[in-house]
């Protein structure tokens, strides 16, 4: 994160102490220290989250919102505590606005299938950006196809920034919903979403922010962003896989039809008529991932304990260092050089294919991602089939960046 980063905040950041909180970081890969630089794919888990899962299944496990027995009370309390933790973390105005889902993908699909099916019709427009992950493209394509609506795409410039003038031109009376990544997973671009949400609202459009790549890196405030929906995943936020969340403004959620039908989302059921439950349960059919929600709550407590501003400052320092270090490598070209970036470094290296780079780095203990990063249109924009991507978290170090740079030099040696 750039902008408000300050050196003093980062100077007091004890990364070695933080690293000791993540057991997997002391693993070795092929006899070398593990250098984990694939955090945009999924982040590692602190001991506190791992312990919370064990503790939940050891002392609290029961179904929620049902039993009258002790364990059900405990599990319900733990699950609803986690919801309050998410509410505070996102600064939602009410717990009724926090729905647990499997992750950002499910959250976006939920909105497309409920709000979208109820509000988007033939000839209407859905606006996304050229930076989107497949999870913020395909659900809208499916909706557009079903409703004979049109999917419009705001273009990006060579740096990987959405061209705001073009974005604004695409907004119009037919724009029903605008769905934007807060942070691009492939390039690291941080979109000026508050401004973009405002522009969308000026045209009467509803807004969804895909915050999957944002929440691990800096503080999020959905009221300040003024977005109507906000989707995120727990596993990228140092929590368990299979849990995430959807924030939605209560007025919109109340008017939306339910999505999946089943237990927990109902108030009463007869064969003639079912009455749906109140928010947020209306959107949580079936037994949820209770332990996952509990683990997510603990993960959020962990990152807020470290401090999101401290994380943002330290990661910015890492990004500046890594950008400078990688730029010095002859033949390496960074893809995505937005002025406002999260700590993601996508690059190409001469004619050497990213898969070969990733394999060679892997044998040196360095985990990066090679490929299209589930953002094929972004790759196409740059005329590339794939890039190599190092994505950082607050437990990464400058020494690890040095190891990456040395590994890239070794790749060049093989293909000299």
């Amino acid at each position: 994160m750039s902008g408000n980063a300050s050196a003093p905040a980062a100077a007091g950041f004890d990364v070695e102490r933080i690293r000791r909180d993540f057991p997997i970081l002391s693993e070795r890969a092929y006899g070398r220290p593990l250098v984990y630089l694939d955090n945009a794919a999924t982040a590692q888990k602190p001991r506190a989250v791992i312990d919370a899962l064990v503790r939940f299944y050891t002392t609290e496990n029961a179904n929620v919102h049902r039993g009258v027995h002790l364990l059900s009370e405990r599990s319900t309390a733990a699950y609803e505590d986690a919801r309050r933790t998410v509410q505070t973390f996102l600064n939602a105005s009410s717990v009724r606005e926090v729905i647990f889902t499997r992750g950002a993908t499910e959250s976006i699909n939920l909105v497309a299938q409920t709000w979208g099916r109820a509000n988007v019709g033939a000839g209407d427009e859905i606006l996304i950006s050229a930076l989107e992950h497949h999870s913020n493209i395909v659900p809208w394509q499916m909706l557009a196809e079903e409703k004979r609506a049109t999917l419009r795409v705001a273009p990006i410039d060579d740096r990987g920034e959405v061209i705001l003038e073009e974005y604004e031109k695409l907004l119009g009376p037919r724009t029903k919903i605008v769905a934007l990544a807060h942070v691009s997973n492939a390039l690291g671009t941080v979109n000026p979403v508050r401004r973009m949400v405002g522009m969308a609202h000026n045209h009467g459009a509803v807004t969804l922010i895909d915050g999957a790549q944002a929440v691990p890196h800096f503080a999020t405030d959905v009221q300040s962003l003024d977005c109507d929906f906000f989707a995120f995943s727990g596993h990228k936020l140092f929590g368990p896989t299979g849990i995430g969340g959807l924030y939605g403004k209560a007025s919109l959620l109340e008017a939306m039809p339910p999505w999946q039908g089943g237990g927990d989302m109902i108030r009463s059921v007869t064969f003639e008529k079912t009455l749906y439950n109140d928010l947020p349960y209306k959107f949580e059919a079936g037994t949820p991932h209770i332990a996952g929600a509990v683990g997510l709550g603990v993960a959020i407590d962990y990152v807020t304990g470290v401090g999101l501003d401290e994380i943002a400052a330290y990661e910015h320092e890492l990004l500046v260092y890594a950008t400078e270090r990688l730029s010095r490598i002859e033949g390496l070209r960074l893809v995505g050089t937005a002025r406002h970036k999260a700590a993601v470094l996508s690059f190409v290296l001469g004619g050497i294919h990213p898969h070969d780079i990733a394999t060679i780095l892997d044998r040196r203990g360095i985990a990066i991602r090679a490929g299209h990063h589930c953002a094929q249109p972004v790759m196409e924009r740059y005329g590339l089939a794939a890039t190599s991507r190092a994505s950082l978290a607050f437990y990464n170090t400058k020494e690890e960046i040095d190891a990456l740079a040395a590994g890239i030099e070794a790749v060049k040696e093989i293909f000299h």
Partner: protein
């Protein structure tokens, strides 16, 4: 560089990746099949000209990693002039080599293709090495015009 990586990126593989042989669209190909690995985006198109049960000409086009490009390049070199039966036998031998079913590397007739012996230690790269071969097999058997590794 570790010796293990030397095993994977043998000189002949790096050479063929950088300077692929028979990398062209031929005139008069009798069969053409596209191969695709959706996992990594590697693409290969194999062109073959078969007469009297013999591969008279073979070439390829495409884009991919060093392993898949070198594999396609060496395949075209190995197959030219071979009978369809020889081609099938070579497919089997190559497949055994890269999937580790031939630990002693005793398969006869592999020639330069033996350079791919290191691939079996990299499970995620086996599909890179075999993409061109699966595509070839489809071309020789006349099975459709597209194959996918998935």
């Amino acid at each position: 560089m570790s010796s293990e990586l030397n095993e994977l990126y043998q000189q002949v593989i790096v050479d063929h990746a950088k300077r692929p042989r028979n990398f062209r669209v031929p005139t008069g190909a009798s069969r053409r099949v596209d191969g695709y690995n959706p996992l990594c985006g590697d693409k290969v198109t194999i062109y073959v000209k078969v007469e009297d049960g013999v591969v008279r000409d073979i070439s390829f086009q495409g884009s991919g990693c060093a392993i898949s490009t070198a594999s396609a390049s060496l395949l075209t070199e190995a197959l030219k002039g071979k009978t369809l039966e020889d081609a099938e036998a070579l497919f089997e031998s190559f497949h055994d080599l890269v999937t580790g079913l031939d630990p002693a590397h005793e398969e006869p007739g592999l020639g330069k293709l033996a350079a791919f012996s290191g691939v079996c230690d990299y499970p995620t790269r086996v599909k890179c090495a075999t993409l061109a071969w699966h595509t070839l097999r489809a071309a020789l058997k006349g099975e459709g015009d597209q194959v996918s590794t998935e």
